[in-house]
Each structure stands twice: as structure tokens, then as C-alpha cells.
């Protein structure tokens, strides 16, 4: 049984390869009957069986990205269109890489860790090698890796690639119940190791950034390919960065115990000795959201005291009272 299946599939590969060779070799469009007589494997079936087989074969070639051209030769009037493969559309253009360029490509090819991009990288490299590019040794001490473990990644990537609207269920931050979203996707961005979908939320009629890990279940394609219009000059990464960080607009003064609060010190504009607390340092740190800033400072417990502004100080005191009770 196994051998039989393998035999059938080898027969099919042979037929398809002969079909590609035949259509690449012709300059004029070949009629279906010409193809039938030229390609071994089409001969012996009934007309109807042959037609079905040929339809499936065409579909299969197109799925591989083989540009099957349909048309009629100008000098004849035929009922049916003919087929050919234009060499300039089929063939990978000339490409030669210097050894350092090939090494850069090899390093880049290591980036993707998961389907579908890891697989696409592998087949792309084979095509380049088939074009005569030689693989170059990549510095072993460099390991760039980008994962995409979010289940929604593949669906979002496909929708972005094809320019199709999407719907999905999204768990927003702040503990709101999951809600259904209808989105025109503009791009996907990996930022600080997490994937985001950027686009226009149709119901809210506004630009939105979605974290892929918060998409619940599957994404559903909700429109034809090419129907999403991505605005020109859209700054995908900038939109994600703005959502994920907040621009400092206020300044707090925080007193820190010696040797603690490293991240606050790193972000601090100025630092001076604390006149009230021996050996402590007062740093000035920018922030925008008093609540989020209070969370951050509360994390330092007895090692940090907010001196100003009053609303940040009050927010920290409120948190500490809750924790201490």
C-alpha cells in the first residue's frame, strides 16, 4: 500500500515537472489538447478525467508560486485559452553575494525560530543556492532569535500579508471582559520580544495596537484579499512603542537608600544627597501616569520614598497601607 502511494505521487511529480518544462519551453500559448499530447501522463485517460486532472495540476503549480499565464495567440481564434510560463516571471533574477554578504544572510536566516517563517527561510535559501549563491560560514558566537509562540501569529501574519480584514476576540488590559474586534490590519511588529498587531479598529474607527498574546482563540478572515488600505508613511514600530511606553511629562523626586533603586537611578535626570536622611540620595525621575509610577516605586518597599509630587506620594501611601494591613 505504502509503495503504491509513493508510486502514484512519483508519477504525479514526474507529470508536473514535465508540464513545467513544457510550458517554460514554449513561447506561444499551448492549447489544452497540445498540452495533453506533449506531456506524458495525460495521454491515456478519458477527456473528462484528463480535464479534472489538468485543473488540479494548474492549481498546484499556482500554489507553488509558478506564474501560469493564460491567453490566446493573436493570429488564431480559438474557443479556449492556452497556457505558457513566461520565463522572466518564473526565474529568480541573477544574484551574487560576496562572502560577507552571504554570512550576513546566513545570520539573518537563523533569526526565525518557528513556523511559518523558519520554513520559508529554508526554502528561500535553497532557491538562492540554486541560483549559485554559496553559503558562507556564520560567526558561531552570534545567536539572534525571534520566536513567535503566540497562537494568533500565523493568522495575523497571513492577513497582513494578504491585506485582509480580520475579526477576533480580544482580552483588553485592565480586567475588562474579552470583546469582539473587527480590524483592518496594517502590520505585525515584534517589540521587546512580543508580537503586536497594528491596524484600524473598524468599530471604534481608530488606530489600535493589539498584543497577540491577548487574542483569545482563532482569528477569522473577514474580507477579500487586498481590501485593506494601509496608510502611507504609517510608523508601525512607533505606534507600538507609544502604546507600550509612556512619555515622561511629570517629574518626581524620590529618595533612595544607598545601593538600591538601580533602574530609577539609571533613568534619573539629577541626583543630590538627601539632607534629611543620612547617606540617602534624592533622584529626579520623569513619569506620565502617577498610578503606574506609584506601582514602580512601591516595588522598592522601604528603600525608596517619594517626596513629590503629592499625588504620586499619596498613591504610594495608599498602596502601602493596603499591603501592610
Amino acid at each position: 500500500m505504502q509503495a503504491n502511494v509513493a508510486g502514484v505521487s512519483a508519477k504525479k511529480t514526474e507529470r508536473l515537472l514535465n508540464l513545467v518544462i513544457c510550458l517554460l519551453a514554449t513561447r506561444r500559448f499551448l492549447s489544452v489538447q497540445e498540452i495533453r499530447s506533449a506531456v506524458p501522463g495525460y495521454g491515456q485517460d478519458t477527456e473528462e478525467a484528463f480535464r479534472r486532472m489538468f485543473e488540479r495540476d494548474k492549481e498546484e503549480l499556482r500554489e507553488l508560486g509558478i506564474p501560469l499565464e493564460t491567453g490566446t495567440n493573436s493570429h488564431v481564434h480559438e474557443d479556449e485559452p492556452g497556457y505558457r510560463i513566461a520565463r522572466r516571471d518564473y526565474e529568480l533574477p541573477d544574484i551574487t553575494l560576496e562572502p560577507d554578504e552571504a554570512a550576513a544572510l546566513g545570520l539573518a536566516a537563523r533569526l526565525w525560530q518557528s513556523a511559518p517563517l523558519a520554513g520559508a527561510t529554508g526554502t528561500a535559501l535553497l532557491k538562492l543556492q540554486a541560483a549559485g549563491v554559496d553559503a558562507a560560514p556564520v560567526p558561531a558566537a552570534l545567536e539572534p532569535r525571534v520566536g513567535a509562540s503566540e497562537p494568533a501569529f500565523e493568522g495575523c501574519l497571513r492577513a497582513v500579508r494578504d491585506g485582509r480584514p480580520l475579526t477576533f476576540t480580544y482580552r483588553a488590559s485592565g480586567g475588562k471582559p474579552p470583546s469582539s474586534r473587527s480590524v483592518e490590519p496594517w502590520g505585525v511588529v515584534s517589540w521587546r520580544g512580543r508580537w503586536y498587531l497594528v491596524g484600524r479598529d473598524r468599530d471604534r474607527d481608530a488606530e489600535r495596537v493589539f498584543r497577540l498574546s491577548r487574542i483569545v482563540g482563532d482569528v477569522t478572515e473577514a474580507g477579500p484579499a487586498g481590501s485593506v488600505v494601509v496608510p502611507e508613511q504609517v510608523d508601525l514600530r512607533g505606534m507600538v512603542a507609544r502604546m507600550a511606553t509612556d512619555e515622561p511629562r511629570l517629574t518626581a523626586r524620590v529618595s533612595l537608600r544607598p545601593g538600591t533603586g538601580w533602574e530609577l537611578r539609571r533613568d534619573a535626570g539629577a541626583s543630590n544627597p538627601d539632607p534629611e536622611r543620612d547617606t540617602w540620595t534624592i533622584v529626579e525621575v520623569g513619569f506620565s501616569d502617577p498610578e503606574r509610577f506609584a506601582d514602580r516605586v512601591t516595588g522598592y518597599g522601604p528603600d525608596a520614598v517619594v517626596l513629590s509630587p503629592p499625588q504620586a506620594r499619596a498613591a504610594v501611601v495608599e498602596r502601602l497601607r493596603g499591603l501592610a494591613s
Partner: protein, 316 residues
């Protein structure tokens, strides 16, 4: 790199590959295409019977594979590989752009030239690559020094911030690898102070100094296997259970958890392992009323004591 190609696309790549490499070794071709030598022989046998219409002796693909080398002399018109698909162009171009935008990691000039050439070869298929972006925090401040030391095999002196203890440490490190994982960059090296292989996140390096001494990690120093993720709990790590209200659910997104389950009242109950209790104490303080330590009890008590002590400073 696994390159799982179907048989037809593989054959369409194999013909021009062999055409440009007369006398190439069979074993090398099998490795490149990620298939067994037996499978490759079957492929070659299939090529042998395919060719131009007519299928006379001069029309067929001509390939010789006696012994352990292969020579293809007649490609039947399949002289070039098929163009890159949109997915293939996207995978390569987005990765090259990510490298190009991480200065100091690899010769920027070479990355830029490779990018331009692949983009040119991809043609129309390159379009979608602009809609996928990967941003890596390269840490321009320290990356070039680290990269240079790796290349020249030199020891480094680091002032390094340990977040678990919120303190800065001084140590000499023999660099082994530079990792860019999950959007951040890390130096993996033999820490001479800890006498072990350690990871140093580049943004936590306060200052770095290249030393004259050569980098000499001991023979037993092995790089960690990244296939299971960057951080794996050690046997001595403390197991901590937290109850998270919805506003603190981000903790489960940010930190690798051993288990996550829905608790009563819409809380998430997560279990994680931590090396340093300092870190989880600060996390619990930071979460405030949005998160509680369920276990161990001593940790919950410690958090309460920290908060009471902190509060005293405000009530003076």
C-alpha cells in the same frame, strides 16, 4: 535549518543547483536539501526520465551520478530557480532589516548590501515585507565592545546590575556568545567570580571594560540550549504562588509560569519559580492590592513587613 520542501519545488531547485556545481558530492547535496541520500537518488532517477516534449534522447534532463558525485549537463530549460514567494521574501528581508537596525552586531555594511541584493532579486514579492517589523534592543552603549571582545577572544570587566538583589556587582567575564533573544541582547560568558556560565543582559551592564587578558572559558563551560527558552528554573529555586486580580494579569504574560489557572472571583492563580526572593518581594509590593502571595507564607509575611516599614517613612 530544516527546509521541508515538497518534491516538485525541490526538483525545480535541484536542477539549477546541480547545473551550477558540476561534480558536487552527493552527501553535500543531501545535507543542503535536508533529505537522505536514498531520497536524493530517487529524485535523480526521476529527473532522468523528465524533459522536453518529444522525450527523445536529446530532450531529457541529463544527469550522471556514478560513485558519490553528481554532474548535470542538460537541464531541459530549467536553468534558474523559481522566484521567491511572498513568504520567502518576507522571511529573509524582515530578518535582514532587523540585523541592519542592530548596529554593532554584524558588519552593517555587509548586511545593507545583502539586503539590497535580496530585495532586488525578490522583485514584487518584496512588498509585504514592509508590513512586518522586528525591533531588537541592541544596546549601542555596550554592544560594540562586547562584540569586539568576542571576536578577538578577550576578557571583559563588567559592572553589572543584578535585579534580584538590586545591587551592582563587579566581575571579570570570558565572553562565549552574544544572544539576541526575545527582543533583548545578552552576553553569555564564563563568570570568573561565580565560576560558572552566566547570562548578562546588556541593558543591565553599567560599564564595560576590555581587558588585556585573553578569554579562556574552561573546557567544561557549555553554552545553554536555547530550544527550551532562555530561563529554566534550577533545582534550588523557590516556588511561589500568586493570586492576580485582572489588572495584574500581565504578570502571566511577562514571566514564565509553571502553571496558570483561573481562581475564584476571576483571579488568576499562577505558580512560578524564582532564584532570588528579592525580585518576587518587589513584584508583590508593586502589585499592591492587585496581587497576593498565596505561598510560601513566610514570603507573604515578609511583603507585609516591607510595606509597614516603608509606610513608616511617610508617617514621620
Amino acid at each position: 535549518m530544516s527546509a521541508a520542501m515538497g518534491q516538485l519545488p525541490r526538483l525545480l531547485a535541484l536542477v539549477p543547483y546541480l547545473l551550477s556545481r558540476p561534480g558536487v558530492r552527493l552527501a553535500e547535496v543531501a545535507t543542503t536539501f535536508g533529505i537522505s541520500e536514498e531520497r536524493l537518488r530517487k529524485d535523480l532517477n526521476l529527473l532522468w526520465v523528465c524533459g522536453l516534449p518529444g522525450h527523445g534522447p536529446g530532450d531529457l534532463i541529463d544527469v550522471e551520478f556514478e560513485g558519490d558525485t553528481i554532474t548535470l549537463s542538460e537541464p531541459a530549460g530549467v536553468t534558474r530557480p523559481l522566484r521567491l514567494t511572498v513568504d520567502e521574501a518576507l522571511a529573509l528581508l524582515v530578518a535582514l532589516r532587523a540585523l541592519a537596525e542592530t548596529p554593532g552586531l554584524f558588519e552593517r555594511d555587509a548586511v545593507g548590501r545583502a539586503l539590497a541584493k535580496v530585495e532586488q532579486a525578490a522583485g514584487a514579492a518584496a512588498g509585504a515585507a514592509g508590513r512586518v517589523e522586528v525591533s531588537v534592543e541592541g544596546e549601542q552603549r555596550v554592544l560594540p565592545v562586547v562584540r569586539g571582545a568576542l571576536q578577538d577572544r578577550r576578557r571583559l570587566h563588567l559592572s553589572y546590575h543584578v535585579p534580584g538583589r538590586d545591587e551592582t556587582t563587579e566581575r571579570d567575564v570570558d565572553p562565549m556568545r552574544l544572544l539576541l533573544v526575545e527582543g533583548r541582547s545578552y552576553l553569555e560568558g564564563w563568570c570568573r567570580r561565580a565560576e560558572g556560565v552566566r547570562l548578562f543582559r546588556l541593558d543591565r551592564i553599567e560599564s564595560v571594560q576590555r581587558l588585556e587578558a585573553p578569554a579562556e572559558p574552561p573546557p567544561g563551560a557549555t553554552s545553554r540550549d536555547l530550544s527550551q527558552g532562555l530561563f529554566r528554573p534550577g533545582p534550588n529555586d523557590l516556588q511561589v504562588t500568586l493570586a492576580l486580580r485582572p489588572a495584574a494579569a500581565w504578570v502571566a504574560d511577562y514571566h514564565p509560569c509553571e502553571s496558570v489557572r483561573e481562581g475564584p472571583d476571576g483571579e488568576l492563580v499562577v505558580r512560578l519559580r524564582v532564584r532570588e526572593t528579592g525580585w518576587v518581594r518587589r513584584l508583590a509590593l508593586r502589585l499592591g492590592s492587585q496581587g497576593r502571595v498565596l505561598a510560601p507564607v513566610e514570603l507573604a509575611e515578609q511583603v507585609r513587613a516591607d510595606a509597614a516599614m516603608a509606610l513608616a517613612a511617610y508617617e514621620d
